[in-house]
Symmetry: D2
Subunit: 238 residues, 4 copies
């Protein structure tokens, strides 16, 4: 077993932002308060939009801004709240299992919402023209780009009027490309790397399109930034 100190361990493993936060806290001399648990520190910070929400084609500034401010940021806040409660529960060995289950479900729920929304917004701002290795891969895996798009749209429309996500995914375990149907923020293929996350919750389109979900999907496709999608694909497969 390892003889490394915690500090050395942090230096030798890939630790993200939360881990660094722990490190900073741990190094403050004489801290009396309990150490925050890095995994559930409740310190997620919303990411800004990387494009001007007034400049998308067919998706109004009001819609995008509401989606980003209310739905996305609401999930980040919710995740922070639930992480702090989970951390508190860790200190209580008698915490009821049945209540713990409910919190763990919300942790998954809000994590999925936060991550998928970030992938959604970061995938917008482009001109909708596909290209690069991801284009070739869609062609190979689905017979043609058009066949892929037809299956992607059909999957999306099977969620219209309700909730969920349609997710082009690189399955890192089976090493294959798929359009996965997801009923809510918690669904997704095990070992899946999301490349395109199309939000089918009604907050994504009702303000602009009412129930005309197919027109929303048109607008989504027209704003996709395929350089971002391709970069995700290449990062996942190489």
């Amino acid at each position: 077993m390892s003889n490394l100190t915690r500090r050395e361990a942090i230096g030798t493993t890939a630790i993200g932002a939360a881990g660094l936060a722990l490190s900073a806290t741990a190094s403050s001399a004489g801290a009396q308060e309990p150490q925050p648990i890095a995994a559930i520190a409740g310190k997620h910070i919303p990411k800004p939009l990387r494009f001007d929400p007034a400049k998308l084609s067919g998706l109004s500034e009001r819609l995008i801004t509401s989606h980003w401010e209310n739905n996305y940021q609401g999930s980040v806040r919710g995740l922070n709240t639930i992480e702090k409660r989970l951390a508190a529960a860790m200190a209580d060995p008698d915490y009821p299992t049945v209540a713990y289950a409910g919190m763990k479900r919300e942790e998954l729920h809000r994590t999925g919402s936060m991550v998928l929304h970030e992938l959604y917004f970061d995938g917008l701002g482009g001109d909708g023209n596909p290209g690069g290795p991801i284009f070739e891969a869609l062609d190979s895996w689905f017979g043609s780009y058009e066949d892929w798009e037809a299956e992607f749209r059909r999957t999306a429309m099977s969620l219209a009027g309700g909730s969920g996500w349609c997710i082009l995914t690189w399955n890192a375990h089976t090493r294959s490309l798929h359009n996965y149907w997801a009923w809510d923020h918690m669904h997704g293929a095990a070992a899946g790397v999301p490349l395109i996350a199309l939000d089918m919750y009604e907050h994504s389109y009702h303000m602009d399109y009412g129930t005309a979900a197919a027109r929303y999907v048109d607008a989504f496709m027209a704003n996709l930034d395929w350089e971002v999608i391709d970069a995700r694909y290449q990062a996942a497969t190489t």
Copy 2:
């Protein structure tokens, strides 16, 4: 847009087993039958166990063999069936959306079951002694290995008596480690890389332990192969 032929495209992108199968099919001269769609070719082949099922500690050969033959292989067969039906539906533009939704859900369901079961079985066969960078990382993210294990077990036990998975996951988007609760084969954190997949469906333990799920979790932990877990962690983070 690209001018590459499909064959060249295959050569330049990371294509897995199904893609190669397509390639082989596509090259056979004079084929009259429709091209299989590589993404949903329905050709998944069960992976063999990498350990002798008679040699685990506290998990009987009968249990492991039944789990692997019936539950895991049943999911592989189910996925192959549903993929072929999805491929057939792609040729029918009038296929009802409501029926398509049901099939897409089963595709996700069976994919998750296949992948998680492969991660489950491949993670067994060890001596249960943790070590390496993953051990250090658990220490960093949860305060100590013991605290991690306590949270992992609590999450698992919150699913006892029902169904689901407890999954130690590297979240590649937030770059952090978490124990995620999963209600069924379809649940999992978006962008999550499963490192330990603990099956909490009752077929994983009832034959040996009845409802004594905590004893099953003991046995699972005692057979974990941490070299495999660590290799997954290092592959995910570097």
Copy 3:
């Protein structure tokens, strides 16, 4: 075992609209086509609104009409489609189980959506003033009407920004009143009789209120027809 003919059986049991449709079909002389299966005949007919959608307080005609025409009627159509496909599958003993599962899930999904939407719309059109035995019962079960309403609103708001229903339910098995959280159209307490069905899918409010779900709940409460609610309660409990 009974010696009743089918016709006599129909006469002695409570058979609803679909059963009568079967009866009519069965009586047509010389029919060559297979008998429709009454349980899954795919003949559901949308119910009209019982109030003028232009006359609700705080819920626009555009919103109510869109909700009723698109979301509700879409579910009725989807249910009819899936029932006919289930009926066809009954004639095929080799129909794959995995595909059947997907259709049965959609049957439940669309049934729930149809029924809950009918309860939703039929519960509107009133002045929001509670009274009668249901008012007394809420007082008894929750300490006061105000405490009930606080719990009902909190349950509803826990679904804001996503999907689901908040359902005041008479549990006919435990013989008690509860506000149940429902994640989607398929959720509901076993043996539950819905008394108030508050739609929390975003199509219920986004057009009028955007993400301000609490204001939508205000409007919903202000339009509740408590005579209808009370009649449901009395029918369920006597």
Copy 4:
């Protein structure tokens, strides 16, 4: 609005066991502690088996006893725990919505498990021979009793190897009979009255049958008490 006192209200409405418990508490003079909230008093008491678990055909005493003691009673205990926590949260207006959502989900989960298990056990102990109006109704709604049983078994088997319930249900809203697929304890048709609840969680059969779920369904059918089923049907439809 009503001028009835709470006591009079209780006298005029159908209040079950929990309501009576409240009544008793409310009448005790000088109580200083907060009133329990009858709807979530956390006082559910497990029901005894109405048959000798050693006397079923093809379902072992060990299996039935384990199922009843551990799975069923575990759910009753879980529901009591979560109800008490919900009651405590009602007194805290700042209780986080995200944590409340998790508890409401567990309330539904455990309620469904308690109710469905009671219907399951109370439906056993018979000789499996159907008769009475329910038999005639199955014949009418499904074409024949045999067709009904085929659809019931197919629905059940679509859940084999996982979790859920297959539920013959009188839909009190559509006034029709259906076999509903249910993925877990929370699923069920809105306004549905369960007549036969077939538990497909693996704890229902693995001890006796391993993964041979079809043989378990055989055994379940052979022990059904159709007098009970028929009584439920008649109560629901008259």
